[in-house]
Structures are given as structure tokens and as C-alpha cells.
């Protein structure tokens, strides 16, 4: 890796620059009409799930989450979905938008085809509780089973453990996971076999298996060598496409498979 300029070595920026005329200013933000077609379900009132359309005027910078809020806040307060941070870091609002798993807060309406209704459904493979809310417990159960915490059997140093920048880089990608379940609930194997650990649990195992400070990689590889482990993966790449954090999920699964094989040699 080539040395990177730091704040100390970079040249001091100019006190004043000429800004191009367009800079820092677009025109008016455009507005457009959209229809959300939402999968509704509330077992308190009916065992059947139905589609319901909501039409509204939205702005060019709005996301699917803004549209869902507009429905809930202005049209139908009973529409139920989880959300918190609203900018793609908390992982609450994974849902199926036009048939693809995405975070509602990271999906801009203008990037979808708004000439047709935008379909919004709960993620698949987990029991639906109400509208877009699913039971996350099976998902977190798989996560807990891979022992998602650093296990170090050596002496506790009085200061920090050393780790080279290269060692740190080795598992950087899988530290980005926000446990939103977009990957696991996009996996056709998981849809048909809820016992499968699923991509998210494997990603989080990867994060520790390849951490130079961790001593329990063998135990995790053993867990994932199970019949419901990594070998169920059919490399369809749905998980990688679904990940809102851009994690190379399928590659991480492949690296875990290789680690199991290398260990058996």
C-alpha cells in the first residue's frame, strides 16, 4: 500500500478559491407523484394479507422511508414498520422494495421507476408480525450461535494488543455488518430451510475467524462445518447484492469454506 498523506503532511488548502458558477447550487428540487403498493397484514383483525395502494407527492431527495412516513403520518397511522436512524447505519428498516431487499432509508424514490407502483413487502423467510415487521429472533439466534465475540486465551497485556494495519485490513469488510438481515432474508436456501445459519451469521463469524487477535477460529469453523453451515451456500450472490453496506458477503462465505478445507488438509 502506498503511503497516504495525513493531515500533517498535506499542503495547507488555499484561503480562497474561485468556485465554479454552478457549484453549491442546483435548481429547485423536483416533485413527483408516487404510488406505494404495500403488503398489509395484521392478524389481530384478519388472517389474510392484502396489497394496499397509497399515492402521494414526494420530492427528489426523498427516500422510500419518507414515503412510508408520509403514509403513516398523513393517511393511515396503522401502517407499521421499524425504523430508527434513517441513514443506513442502524439496520432497522430492511424490506423488500420492488422485489429486492434494501434499506428503505437508503433507497431514493428517484432511483426507482415511479411511473409504476413501488411494491413494499416484509423481508422473506422470517415470520411476519404485522405489515412490514418480522420476528427477528431466529435471525439473532443464528448470530449468537457462531460466538460473535473475541476469544483470546493468551495473557492480558496491560496496554493494547498489537495488530498490524495489514492484519486489521484482513477482516475490515465484515466489520461493517449492521445486522439488518437483508442478506439472510434474500437467500433462497434460507427461505426453504430456516435452520441454515444464513449469510449474516457467517459474515460475523468471518469477522472473528480472520482477526489476528482471536484464538477461537477453529471452534467457529467447526460450527460452520455443520450440515446447516457454510456448505448450504449455493453461491447465488443474492446476499452480496442485498447488502446495504457493500460487504462482499459471498466472498466472505467462500473464504470461510476455504479455511475449513485448509484446516482439514
Amino acid at each position: 500500500m502506498s503511503p497516504i498523506e495525513t493531515a500533517e503532511t498535506a499542503p495547507e488548502p488555499a484561503s480562497k478559491i474561485e468556485l465554479p458558477a454552478h457549484m453549491g447550487g442546483g435548481g429547485e428540487i423536483p416533485t413527483f407523484d408516487v404510488t406505494l403498493r404495500v403488503r398489509r397484514y395484521d392478524p389481530e383483525f384478519s388472517e389474510d394479507s392484502t396489497w394496499e395502494d397509497f399515492t402521494m407527492t414526494m420530492y427528489g431527495t426523498d427516500r422510500v422511508l419518507d414515503a412510508l412516513h408520509k403514509v403513516k403520518w398523513e393517511q393511515d397511522g396503522s401502517l407499521s414498520f421499524r425504523r430508527s436512524c434513517a441513514h443506513g447505519v442502524c439496520g432497522s428498516d430492511a424490506m423488500r422494495i420492488n422485489g429486492r431487499n434494501r434499506l428503505a432509508c437508503k433507497t431514493l424514490l428517484k432511483d426507482l421507476d415511479t411511473s409504476k407502483p413501488i411494491t413494499v413487502e416484509p423481508i422473506k423467510g422470517l415470520p411476519v408480525e404485522k405489515d412490514l415487521i418480522v420476528d427477528m429472533e431466529p435471525f439473532f439466534q443464528s448470530y449468537r450461535e457462531i460466538m460473535p465475540f473475541l476469544i483470546n486465551r493468551g495473557h492480558e497485556p496491560s496496554k493494547e494488543r498489537l495488530q498490524s494495519a495489514e492484519e486489521r485490513e484482513r477482516f475490515d469488510d465484515t466489520t461493517k455488518c449492521i445486522l439488518c438481515a437483508a442478506c439472510t432474508s434474500s437467500c433462497p436456501v434460507f427461505w426453504t430451510d430456516g435452520q441454515y445459519f444464513g449469510p449474516a451469521a457467517i459474515v460475523n463469524a468471518h469477522r472473528f475467524i480472520f482477526d489476528s487477535r482471536d484464538d477461537a477460529g477453529d471452534m467457529r469453523l467447526e460450527i460452520l462445518n455443520d450440515k446447516e453451515g457454510v456448505w448450504r451456500c449455493r453461491t447465488t450472490f443474492n446476499c452480496t447484492e442485498a447488502c446495504p453496506r457493500g460487504i462482499q458477503v459471498t466472498q466472505a462465505i467462500a473464504e470461510v469454506k476455504q479455511a475449513i478445507l485448509a484446516r482439514q488438509v
Partner: protein, 599 residues
Amino acid sequence: MQVHKYDVIIVGAGGAGMRAAIEAGQNARTAVLTKLYPTRSHTGAAQGGMCAALANVEEDNWEWHTFDTVKGGDYLVDQDAAEVMAKEAIDAVIDLEKMGLPFNRTPEGRIDQRRFGGHTRDHGKAPVRRSCYAADRTGHMILQTLYQNCVKHNVEFYNEYYVLDLLTVEEDATRADGTPYKQKRIAGVVSYDLATGELHVFQAKSVILATGGAGKVFKTTSNAHTLTGDGMGIAFRRGIPLEDMEFFQFHPTGLAGLGILLSEAARGEGAILRNSDGERFMERYAPTIKDLAPRDIVARSMANEVREGRGCGPNKDYVLLDLTHLEPAHIDAKLPDITEFARTYLGVEPYTEPVPVFPTAHYAMGGVPTNIGAEVLQDNDTIIPGLYAAGEVACVSVHGSNRLGTNSLLDINVFGKRAGVAAAQYAKTAEFVDLPENPEAATAALLDHVRTSDGGEKVAAIRKDLQDTMDANMQVFRTAESIDRVLADIATFEERYSRITVQDKGKRFNLDLLEAVELGFLLELAKVMTVAALHRQESRGGHFREDFPDRDDVNFMKHSMAYKDSGVTAESSQEHIAGIRLETKPVVVTRYEPMVRKY
């Protein structure tokens, strides 16, 4: 209604709550109640880092960190608390590393450190590299690491349980000087299970409040939708004071129009602010440390540039964050997430174009008063045995009138740990306090009222109007006139709130109902912030009064303490606001006498 019994109940599963849970969970029967799932809390949105004087990359020590924290907070910081935090920062970082947190590393393999606003070498001489970080997702890594360690220690979680009441009892007691008073004691909490709509009472020897902030009183905010000040609200309603609520931090660099946070780490790594003339205007406002001045100063400077006509864009209502002189490889290595935010939400490419930014409501410096042991105070110095608070919900006060960047991630780790240790220790010897009769009655009545009220007012409409007036009148510039406008507005909102209608009448996952309850907290807290802001006729840190532009140490170098008090009428109140009693509390000064705050 179900009743549960635990030694320690922790309310909130962000950084402070889970740091406490790791300590308490290993020493006492502990449960964490959270209105979300554990890894959803807003600690995960923190980006830039956590300061500690490790001196891994250049000379540094905890005393310099203490000084910066005190000066950054414009001398309203309790200096004993700041000293505790700066000293324990070093172990707090090492603890996290041992738990597995993947910090960025130096070429020697040690924890790397970078610059951050207001953190300086030798009492303000130059910026210092003090912030320990993991790219620009340090908060995410802290939240994940703490949850991982909760899993490791089998901490019990009740997910999507909203705590809506604190159960306290009052006993007659006598002070050392012989005067009688009412001593509060904690008995437990009442919570609402989102999945079923059932109430659950948790009896506990110790309760730790770790519910985070209340940024949703403002429209433009970096805060999550769920940051509605519930913990501050339930404490206030039970007669516990709120300290320094007039001090709210506006982070300089929110994405214009959206409020989404772009970390100060961008400026720590060399980015600068420019106005419509292309001028690096911070050279005029803070000649020594320029763009790395504390947040209150940078936010006001930006708002002033816009006010004086040097804003950018079609409405000239924002300024620009310029990273274009930085190497793309440097940006990718150190600031990957925030540059992605700019691309995703504004369609701006930070390699080649400056990013539109404007101050965004970010952090409540005030909150539930505690001492340095994280014990909650019922007045200036009487603790409530068994009740603790840590993190943004609390006011220790380590942030004074303006928090320095990275000191919140530090606060949650240092005082979260202290709260967890102390709560478990207390539970070892304490007895359970008997629950009051019908402990859930007040909560049931509140929910019944919200569910059955049918005046037709919409919760979302009232909330939007509240947020609009707070943005317009209580942001970085305030005057008596603007504050009075908010108070008049809140009076009308309270009347409308009494006539709301909630559409969802079901029991299961009724978030419509909870949003109405949350609005009740927001209205109450906005009023406390505003009354306290009216009372404070000076400018200090995050609170800037244009009609009183100077700091006034003679009359106002003291904390404000707001109490809910039905005995206060509009006529008897100096601010003409019924129901809130304002008192003051001295600031703890140890080493540093107040000086003029220049950077």
C-alpha cells in the same frame, strides 16, 4: 400485567446501557430493556472517534484533555467530573480493544489517533492527535463490540420494551443539619411491550437510565427518529430535576436540508469550510485552530456567513465542506462512510465537489443530574439510592455548555462502566423497595387517554409544528423575542395535544400509539429547554443570546436545575410559565479559573 424481579434494570441498549450491562451482568441479576433491538441504538451513528491521551502518536496527557474539555464547555463543566473522564479515558479505550474493537492502527501496530475539534496540545497551542478511531464508523464498532460482549456474558435483553414510568417512593428523612426532607427511593420501572401491548412491571434494587437524547425536538437533526427524550421525560415527571437543558449542541456539518451527520473527522483529516466567495471563513473566526474550533463556534460562524449573504445554493442557505484538496485514497481510507452519505443522499462527489452542509441539532449537554459515581440526584446534592444515569440522558456534567467531539463516546464508556459497577454493588446489600399499590396505574391511564382521545388532531402535525418553531427560534442564535415565540407556540401545541386522535386501535406493534406518547415527552422537554434558555441572560457555549452576547460569570456561571412543580403559576414564575421551577447549582471548579475562550 406481569411483574418481573431483577437486581439491576438497565433502560436503554446503546453504548452507555450495554457498557453498564457488561459490568452489572457479571455481578448481579441484570436485564436490559430497550425500545429497539440492541444494535439499533444511535451510538452506532457516531463516526469520528473517542479521545484518550494514549500518546501513541505524539506527546499528550490527561491533564491537557481535561483542560480542553473544561474550556470547550465554556467553564460550565464540573471539573472534578472532567478529570475523572480524561483519566479513565485511557483504560476505557484499552478495555474496548481487549473486548475486540477493531481500531485503526499505526505502522507499529498500536491504536492510531487523529485530530479532532477543540482537542489541543498543551492548553491550546495546536491541534493534537488524540482521537482513537475505526475509520469513520467508531460508534458502529463500539455498539457492535459492546453487544458482542453482552452476548458473551449472556446478558438478558427485553427487546422493544418501552419504559414509560419510573416507580419511586418517598420517605421522610432528616438532613445532617436537622432539616426534614422527602427522600426518594427507586422501586422499579413500568414498561410497555410493543409486540403485545401489555404492561410489564420490573421491580429492581437498582435502575440505570441510559436512554440517550432528545434531538427530535428539532426539525434538522442528526438524531434518530426514536430519540424522543423518554428517559429525561419519565424522570422529570417523577419530580427529578433536569440540569442545563438550555444547552443543545448543533453539529456544524449536517448534510444541507437533511441533517445527516458528516463527521468532524472530515475536518480532522484536513477538510475545510468555504462560503459562496470560496473563502475559508474560519480563518476569520478562529485564527489559530480555524476549522477545528469547537462545534458551537464553527456552527455559529456558518450561520453567520449565511445570515450575512455568503451562503451557497439557490436559497443561499448553506456553506460548503471542501475535501477536494485531499487525495481520494486518503478519503477512502479514513472517511469512507460519510463520503458515501454525500453521494447517496445529495448526489455530490466529494473527490471533486464541495459538499453542502449546515448545522444540525446533535446532542443534549443537559439531562438527568448525576454525581461522578453516576448516581442520580433529586436536588443539588441528595442522591436517590439505587438510581443511576449515564450517557446523553445524564448530566454529570462533563460537557458543560458545549461538548467536544468524541467526548460522548468517551462519556458512555466511562460513566456507563461506573454506573454498571455501582448498580451491581448497591444491589448486593440493598433490599427491594416495596412496589407502590397499582404500580402500573399512571401508565395505564396515560395510554388509555392517548388511545381513546378523539379530538381529531394529528400527532405528526403537532410534532412538525414543534420542530419547525424550535429550528426557527431556538437554534444557534436566540433572543428573548424568539424564545417567547416558542413558548407561545408550545402553549397552543399542548392544547392541541389534549385533542389528538390515534388511528391504530390495535394491541400489536402499535407504533402509532407510541409516537403519541413520545410527542408528550418532546413537548415537555422542549418547554424545559426553552424556559431555561429564557432565564439564562448570557451567551455561553451552545446557548447564544443575541440580546446578551457575552458570557456573564458573575450571574450565570452556574448550572440550571428545572423541576416539574404544579405549585408554580404563570404569575409566580419569573419567566411567566406555569409548572416549571428553576433553581441553580454551583459549578465545581478545581484547577481552572474561567478565561476568555479564544481559539
